[in-house]
Amino acid sequence: MTHRKIDRISRRAFLGTTAAVTGALAAPGLLRAEAAGVKVGLVHPVTGWGAYSGNQCRQGALMAIADINAAGGIKSLGGAKLEGLLADSQSKPDVGASETARLIEGGAMGIVGGYASSISLATTQEAAKTNTPHVVDVGVSYKIVKRGLPNVFRFGPGYTKIAQFAVDNLATINAAAGNPAKTAMIIHEDSAFGTGTAKVLSGKLPEKGIEVIEIIPHGTPTRDFTNIALQIKSKKPDIIIPADYYNEYVLLARTMRQQRIEAKAIYSVLGGAASSYKFVKEFPDAAEYIMDCNHWFNPLDEGAQKRRAAAEAKGLFYTYEIYLTYNAVMLLADAVERAGSTDNEAVIAALASSTWSKHGMPYGPTRMVNGQNQGAQPVNTQVLNGDIEVILPAEFASAKVVFPRPS
């Protein structure tokens, strides 16, 4: 081996590898200028596979911030305005976590976000390191609130509650029609929420006298649903139960129509498109009579209807991502208001004791147990005459259920 003189390492190489250290001395940059205000960190997957949902969530959060500020801000802090610090998790948990750290260091007193369960698990853990309050907007996995992290709150329901609710109400609907339905098939997307939901459903449906004759998981994306449609056709279940994301749900619904499949009902649970205005508008024929058990707003609440109009005026479809995140921000703001401070412990205590009820959701007053809002529940919807109606629970209903599906 040739022997080289020990040369001075060039500045270029040296600078290159110590740039990170130099950069560390500067504070992380932010998307908005520093201002006196209550900073709320918003972490959502606005690029990557979750882009549509992430953007809807972000819109909901920004609407909430605008509404709060228009109504005078946080009065107990002298009318301090809320300021949203935006971050993109790129649909990846590790990016979500690092963005959460960035927002917290940039002054965020609380984090709202996640959207997907896998991302929310990472962002909440990151926030837990500084005990920063984190309200999960959507993420339905039960695991999110079962880790004993005191800073984590979820305003909406998890899939365990949703599935139980779905089963109970299906039994009610079935009984009211004389129990025509005896069998069901579950079609679900094969990642966290679909698998978890299907598991709960398949355990509880037999208790209500409905036999689950087949469970079919499929990937996201799935390019073609004909196989699944053929299996449905051959097994002839009374009830078809999909648990999917929007795109797959649409393809499934279209394919079922192509294959001329008739069932007594399509009863989705967290069906991605079934309670979506977009789906109803674009596929009125395929959508008619589809039932869903999903997140929904209280149709009888004036505030909720006003927000729907406001969202649609912006050209957005009023989807669950919007109002769930809207309310997550509102819940946090209400806690800050009651705590009279942005101190972590105070806000967490305020969140834990929250009884906030001005949410326009079919929830009743908030009641937190281990970070999960016990009042949270889904509703049953049905597409009737080209519109999405709430059919159960009765006190929030806007229409009566049509079951079985007329031929």
Partner: protein
């Protein structure tokens, strides 16, 4: 396994496979002949799908009429990309081409996200729910059309490659670049034309796919791996092979789905891919190297 639905499943697999083959035909030219590992294939398909969508939304143009507009437009895009970006940036090294196309894929997907937003869009055609009954199976009309379109496109490509001067030039280029230059072939131009044709075929695929599917900025990702599988399975550079390979993959996917479930059934595609690579890497129609 339920045998009564096996036949309809296989028939459907054939039509789905034909759609996959359409997507793979372009890659056959790009990868099979030019040996460009084009990671941007899915993103380009997505762009073409958006083209079909907007032509429908803004001008009410049926996707099949868009066959007159989208493929030529995609050809121009492909030509430009190869001539002015990929060729320059790759400096002839394979790993660079891979990175350049990867970078392009990121750019295209995210620009689409920026301009078109993330909503999923569909085109509703009056014939979307029409079916053709074959042996008791309901085959959706758009997919039957796609099947014949795939046959036609593969034939046209084969004719192009074997019966025209352009085709001869492309084949010469693929075999021996220096020699091709020596006999007067404008190498950069022909390379770009080939790439352009490959992308143009994606335009054809998009017109045929749109009635059965949807478009969003991420939609291309679901097709990239399958396209590469088909190209290798069919035999690099063989259009007939890509057609057959696509149909085989479609049927494997369908039967695998019935036997193992839709989720696990996807494994069939990749197991076949691995087996072909190990035991018959020249593919179905390829020649032993």
């Amino acid at each position: 396994m339920d045998f009564s639905i096996l036949m309809p499943s296989i028939l459907n697999g054939i039509t789905t496979g034909a759609l996959y083959a359409l997507v793979a035909l372009g890659l056959t030219l790009i990868y099979g002949v030019l040996h460009i590992i084009n990671f941007a294939h899915g993103a380009l398909l997505m762009l073409a799908l958006y083209g079909v969508y907007y032509l429908n939304r803004l001008f009410g143009l049926d996707p099949y009429w868009s066959l007159l507009i989208v493929p030529p437009a995609m050809f121009v895009l492909g030509y430009a990309l190869q001539r002015f970006v990929i060729a320059r940036a790759s400096h002839g090294r394979d790993e660079n081409i891979l990175l350049v196309t990867l970078g392009l894929a990121i750019v295209i997907e995210n620009l689409a996200l920026f301009f078109f937003r993330s909503d999923t869009q569909v085109v509703n055609t009056p014939y979307a729910f029409d079916v053709v009954e074959v042996m008791g199976a309901f085959l959706p009309y758009p997919k039957v059309v796609a099947f014949f379109a795939a046959l036609a496109t593969a034939t046209a490509l084969w004719a192009l490659m074997t019966r025209t001067d352009l085709g001869r030039a492309i084949r010469a280029l693929a075999k021996e670049r220096k020699g091709a230059r020596l006999v007067g072939i404008d190498v950069e131009h022909i390379f770009a034309v080939s790439f352009g044709i490959g992308v143009g075929v994606l335009g054809i695929a998009a017109c045929l796919l749109m009635p059965s599917y949807y478009v969003s900025p991420q939609v291309g990702n679901g097709f990239v791996l399958i396209a590469f599988t088909i190209v290798v399975l069919g035999g690099m550079g063989s259009f007939a092979g890509a057609l057959i390979g696509g149909i085989v993959i479609g049927v494997v996917e369908a039967v695998g789905g019935l036997m193992l479930g839709e989720s696990l059934g996807q494994i069939g595609i990749f197991l076949i891919f691995i087996l072909i690579l190990l035991f018959r890497p020249q593919g179905i129609m390829g020649h032993q190297a």
